[in-house]
């Protein structure tokens, strides 16, 4: 369960996030949808404790990201924008490195990594160095790395950007499976269709504020637009009018 309450964040003159509040629940996929520069990545970085909000609070399963960063980080797995693998390590080693850093037991690590490799179906390239990986292979490995300590909450920053149809599909299946296991998945994107296909709840943000937070049908209803793209554009326009 991820709860964000009235966070603000500025970088010099730029007021990137202005009083954002929302909650992402366990067993649900919440989509953070917004155009480029809306404040999605900043919000996710606050949740990963990489940035400190100027005002407001955020908690991960009750752990405050500012005052109790270590506990908060223990409860999240994060897939940042761009996979950030170590090119000279194999996929297996990349995953095992995070397992060790998260403090998994020595004997447990090999089994856990093997389990992840099976779940993600990356066995055929698990022992190759990450240097030559395709975009899809990199994303899957990075996701495996994020899941290795079995976090209750998963934060994905534009995970499907640049993936082909097959890779996108298998990623979606995985996310759906995690949801079924009771995970809280928070997922950012700037593609409405993508979010609509996967998410139970959608937060549309623009200019650092929440435009609408509702289900897909709810958004259609409140914007009065049947077409999702139209609805997205309308929602953003609503913020600008304020």
């Amino acid at each position: 369960m991820i709860r964000v309450e009235g966070i603000h964040k500025s970088f010099g003159e730029v007021h990137a996030v202005r009083g954002l509040s929302f909650a992402a629940h366990d067993g649900k996929i919440t989509g953070l949808l917004g155009p480029n520069g809306a404040g999605k990545s900043t919000t996710l970085r606050v949740l990963c404790t990489l940035l400190k909000p100027d005002r407001g609070t955020a908690t991960i399963d009750g752990a405050d990201v500012v005052t109790d960063g270590l506990s908060a980080r223990r409860k999240i797995g994060s897939l940042p924008h761009g996979s950030g693998l170590y090119p000279r390590l194999t996929a297996r080693e990349n995953i095992a490195y995070y397992a060790r850093l998260c403090g998994l037991d020595r004997d447990e690590i090999a089994d856990r990594v093997e389990e992840i490799i099976k779940t993600l179906d990356i066995g055929d390239f698990a022992d190759r160095r990450a240097k030559g990986f395709s975009h899809g292979q990199r994303t899957k490995t990075a996701l495996g790395r994020a899941l290795v300590h079995d976090p209750q909450n998963l934060i994905l920053d534009e995970p499907t950007t640049g993936l082909d149809v097959m890779a996108t599909r298998s990623l979606r299946e995985l996310i759906a499976k995690l949801k079924a296991e009771g995970c809280c998945v928070l997922f950012s994107s700037h593609v409405m269709q993508e979010v609509a296909a996967l998410c139970d709840d959608i937060c549309i943000i623009a200019h650092g504020k929440i435009a609408i937070h509702d289900s897909v049908d709810g958004i259609r209803e409140r914007t009065g637009r049947e077409d999702l793209e139209e609805a997205f554009v309308k929602a953003i326009a609503m913020v600008e009018d304020e």
């Binding site: 270590l70 940042p80 850093l101």
Partner: protein
């Protein structure tokens, strides 16, 4: 396993796989430095021996006017060869660097000599020419010698004691011991060791900080339930290991290559036994912590791998500054210097190599002050890693 050990192991393995950087850092420097050093010393030896004994050639214009002088010069191991056409040509040749020195004897030399007026000889030389200095000096000395000899003959012919012309007798007494002289030359060694150490860890320091940020792997790493202090300490420790390894290789290769150096010919007895090499390793190891932390600190400020490389290229000079200052200003070693790394290491090393007694207190101060500085720098790095700007 503790998190910093995990980071440490990963950085070691990761960088061992970076073959090309590894070759430059661990093999390139330790091999290139001894070669450079041996060449430098051989050159030095050659020059010292040459200038004392070897026949030098002296172009002379108008040698036929002064046969006695020519014989005298030849007796001083100076070979007379035909010079350029005239004074102007000689000046040109010296200016162009074709000749170090040319002697011109005017046609009226023997007449002036017979008439007892000072007979002029012209010596063409370039004061700015440093490499020909030894040759010029020898020709000058020989001419003064001839001058003295002639004056002596003239005075004796008139029944005057030639000693009257020498109120002063200047004796040069060289008090530098052979080992002391060696120390000046071997003082360079500590530079080589320091550079090998610095270069050995530079790639890792950059890769683990600026490189990590550029690859985008820093963000997920910092999102893990690990404190940043653990990450930094692990990275600095790995850098230290690479630096110490490069240092050990450099010391070993120097130990072997110095076996082949003809130090006796220079009158030197440097002490670079295996024990001294090992002591030097232990003495310099604490400095690896200072260097690793300093490089990590530098690389944390930079925005990219390339920028870090540029900065560190200059940055590696900073640790050697204290040594340079003391050498250039020729400050006498003082007790307080033992608190300044790597100056303390340099001074102790020079003493060890030149067989001087080394005080245990100095070693203790050097080690403790260096480790303290390293700890402070590491702490600064940890503070820096808490900045948000770190992510770039």
């Amino acid at each position: 396993m503790r998190a910093f050990l995990v980071v440490f192991m990963k950085e070691i393995i990761d960088n061992l796989r970076d073959r090309r950087s590894l070759l430059t850092a661990l093999l390139g420097m330790p091999i290139a430095f001894p070669v450079l050093f041996v060449v430098l010393i051989s050159f030095q030896i050659e020059r010292n021996i040459d200038s004392a004994e070897e026949l030098i050639e002296l172009p002379v214009i108008g040698a036929e006017h002064a046969p006695n002088l020519m014989r005298y010069l030849e007796s001083r191991n100076i070979d007379i060869v035909a010079g350029p056409a005239d004074g102007a040509a000689a000046a040109e040749a010296v200016q162009a660097g074709e000749q170090d020195v040319v002697l011109l004897i005017p046609g009226d030399f023997s007449e002036e000599l017979a008439d007892m007026i000072p007979a002029t000889v012209e010596l063409y030389l370039d004061q700015a020419n440093t490499s020909g200095g030894a040759d010029i000096g020898r020709v000058r000395d020989a001419l003064f010698g001839y001058n003295q000899t002639l004056a002596g003959i003239r005075l004796s012919a008139r029944g005057v004691n030639p000693m009257l012309l020498r109120p002063l007798n200047i004796d040069h007494i060289d008090v530098s011991t052979p080992s002391g002289r060696a120390a000046i030359l071997l003082g360079m060694l500590s530079y080589f060791f320091l550079f090998a150490l610095l270069m050995g860890g530079m790639y890792l320091a950059i890769d683990a900080t600026a490189g990590e940020r550029e690859r985008g792997s820093l963000e997920p790493l910092l999102s893990l339930p690990v404190t940043r202090a653990h990450l930094i300490v692990g990275k600095i420790a790995a850098t230290c290991v690479f630096m110490s390894t490069a240092l050990a290789l450099c010391l070993l290769s120097f130990f072997f290559s110095l076996q082949f150096m003809p130090f006796e010919q220079l009158g030197m007895t440097p002490n670079f036994s295996l024990i001294v090499a090992f002591a030097a390793f232990l003495l310099l190891c604490p400095f690896a912590l200072v260097s690793a932390a300093l490089m990590t600190l530098f690389a944390s400020f930079t925005k990219s791998y390339k920028e870090a490389q540029t900065w560190l290229g200059v940055g590696v000079l900073i640790p050697t500054m204290p040594i340079l200052f003391v050498s250039i200003l020729q400050v006498q070693p003082r007790f307080e210097f033992m608190f300044i790394p790597p100056l303390s290491q340099h001074l102790i090393l020079v003493d060890m190599i030149s067989n001087e007694p080394v005080s245990i207190l100095n070693i203790a101060i050097s080690v403790v002050s260096t480790l303290a500085l390293g700890a402070i720098l590491t702490w600064v790095c940890v503070r820096l890693y808490h900045r948000e700007a770190l992510l770039g």
